[in-house]
Amino acid sequence: MKRYSDMEFLRLSKWQKFLYKLVSFLVGIPLGIGRFFKKIGIAVKNGVLRVVSELKDIGVTFVHGDWKTKVSYVVMGFGNIARGQVLRGLLFLLFEAVFIFYMVTTGGYWLSKLGTLGTQGPESVYDPIYDTNTTVYHDNSFKILLYGVLTIFFIVAFIYTWWVNVRQNKLAEQIIKSGKKLKSGKDDLKSLVDDQFHKTLLALPMVGILVFTVLPIVFMVLVAFTNYDGSHNGYSNALFTWVGLKNFSTLFSWSSAGSTQSMSATFGEILVWTLMWAFFATFTNYFLGMGVAMAINKKGIRLKKMWRTILVMTVAIPQFISLLYVSKMFAADGLINQMLLSLGWIKQALPFWTDPTWARITVIIINIWIGIPYLMLITTGILMNIPADLYESAKIDGANAWQQFHKITLPYMLFITGPYLLTSFTGNMNNFNVIYLLTGGGPTNAAASGAAGTVGHTDLLITWLFKITTGSDSQYYLAAVVGIMVFVVVAIISLVVYNVLPSIKNEEDYQ
């Protein structure tokens, strides 16, 4: 396509401008993806080079280092202690001791089993004396995988620490050679609340994220390569084991028996609805919320606080209470249908939850009911921040209310809330509560349901995932594959949007 310079662009008509923007956006997607992979490639290459040079460095340090340094290669922290940095040295030493102790007592066991995930499952044994069947448990695939991964984390941490230990020796030698003083333990502690303060602040949150977010995600990704499901739960019935890429090919090629379409078609169908839902849920809330905020903010409207309070009250009530009630209100024999019937406005109950299209529209509308208060709160503040003189000058130029909104309010809002829109879009893609509590995914999508389980017309990927894990076969491995696919979709969307939105790229501009 032809690229226009700024001047040329300005000369285009409105329609041409729009077309140009659209085309350059679409063209940008593959380019952006290409750039992304190129970046990854460069990062990998740099990483490898870095590791090679560090390895070299470790060797060089060993050859040129003094005896204290050499001992430190085996006894971590020895160099620090010998050079007077006792606190640091002891911590290194303690870490090494704990590591060795752990590996010898339990770590080795988990690691050795990781390749097979256990060999002997539980068995049922008949005891003739008591005339009863007992279960004897042996290996536990779940624990082997879990602690195996943890042990690998630990080994990586150890190698890193060992490397740090080596480098410290090297640096200490250099510092002593140049005649300066090494930092004492007291200095170390002091810098932790000053120039190294960020490490103190981040230590605890990062440990939490590592164990309770990273570990489960790594585990989940690994499960996608096993046959972990209800009939192989890893300890109380049968062990699970590695199956390679089989589950991925299942999702893409297998046509689920009894359903008229393949699994990948089902996945595609749910994905399309998930994106539709996320789009409508995000933008209906956004614009209507903004509308309500503008209405309340309008000059001359009284009791502003009261209106806001009424809406905000609904935020405070847990969704599982309000949504369950509302869900039943819309049922065929629910309050709304009964009321309309008794008023004589309708002859037959409206199919809010039984007709696919009705159900989809109804969940979007009810979601507006939930979402507007949040959006009202968020936009109220921003609206008030728009400089008033912008509007004044617009008024003088004779702009009407719509033009003011279109030319001033909307661009300003979109610019400021761009990032919010993105997170809210991905958040809505994973909006479990609303769908689960309102429809449970229903009404049943007969074409997509089959031996692999039931799928509903309002099921999002996330609720489908939930159904897979809690369904009759508890196919965790399939859920893991779907989970990874959800990740890929969200990641692609985010990447594209991030490369388009100006307000995220230039983080520093804001401060």
């Binding site: 879990l146 960020h198 994220i209 405070a316 847990p318 995932l465 990641a491 401060q511």
Partner: protein, 287 residues
């Protein structure tokens, strides 16, 4: 004369549009409040069964609240309150540490770290529940010990939600920090003496959201409590009244429970609304 007339016309259209807005606001308020009013009314309904064809109870009374008091609800309420209070404190500390650091410090790992967490956040959380459950079970923090378990998981993974407060810190001018640093304050002193007082809205916002979360958590909490009433939070406990064979006899009690849950959260929310708005507008928009 002419000018004045035009002015009058403007005023009239203004009045007209204001009337329209008032009507709109009244309609919105009714639609938004009605379900809650219904739930409130149900909680005073004496006659049982969950679906009745009317809204105004035929027989009024406090029976449901009395029944609530005699059930395990007290225990669940206390559990939830404990979780909510601990979360409010610990989550706030963690999130503020995280967001302040990422907003103010420029260190080598900052970019990669933020990107890493962004990527982590893109994985659907649903699946990790079963794994977290197992980890907690191995630590002995499930069933009767579900309360510390839920606090641990909630707090440990809360670092991921630093976006809003980081956005807020970004809006506080950096020159303040630098001036204080020039005066010889340590980083810690800068945070404690200068930034925190300015960050009051976001602190309160974080406390409020962290406090509210546990009241509605039922999917994961149900896993962790695993059929042990002593470890239920209100959501799990009340949810157990909604099974097919329970719902008819417990539904009105469920509504009463809902009112009891909504009460403290609503009051707190209304009192702190101002800070919530400031926090959310300062922070959320800047992700």
């Amino acid at each position: 004369m002419k000018n004045e007339k035009r002015h009058m016309g403007l005023k009239a259209t203004n009045r007209l549009s204001n009337t329209a807005i008032y009507i709109l606001l009244v309609v919105i308020s009714v639609v938004w409040l009605l379900p809650f009013v219904f739930i409130l009314l149900q909680s005073f309904r004496v006659e049982s069964t969950w679906q009745v064809g009317y809204v105004i109870p035929q027989q009024w009374g406090f029976d449901n609240y009395i029944r609530l008091w005699n059930s395990d609800f007290k225990r669940w309420y206390l559990n939830t309150l404990i979780i909510a209070l601990f979360s409010a404190v610990l989550v706030t500390v963690i999130q503020l540490c995280m967001s302040y650091t990422l907003s103010r410090f420029r260190f080598k790992m900052r970019g990669p770290l933020m990107r890493f967490m962004l990527i982590l956040g893109m994985f659907p959380g649903m699946l990790t529940m079963i794994i977290l459950y197992r980890v907690l079970a191995d630590l002995g923090l499930t069933q009767a010990n579900a309360v510390p378990g839920l606090i641990l998981v909630g707090v440990a993974s809360s670092g991921m939600g630093y976006y809003v407060s980081k956005g807020f810190f970004d809006t506080i001018p950096k020159s303040l920090d630098e001036a204080a640093r020039v005066d010889g304050a340590t980083r810690f002193q800068v945070l404690y003496k200068i930034i925190l007082p300015l960050a009051k809205p976001i602190v309160i916002y974080t406390i409020l959201t962290a406090f509210m979360g546990p009241w509605g958590d039922f999917v994961f909490a149900r896993y962790v409590a695993m059929g042990t009433s002593a470890g239920y939070n209100v959501a799990v406990g009340m949810y157990s009244w909604l099974t097919n064979d329970q719902i008819n006899s417990w539904y009105t009690t469920f509504c009463a429970g809902g009112v009891m849950v909504a009460l403290p959260v609503t009051i707190l929310f209304l009192c702190l609304q101002k800070y919530y708005v400031e926090g959310v507008t300062g922070g959320a928009v800047k992700g």
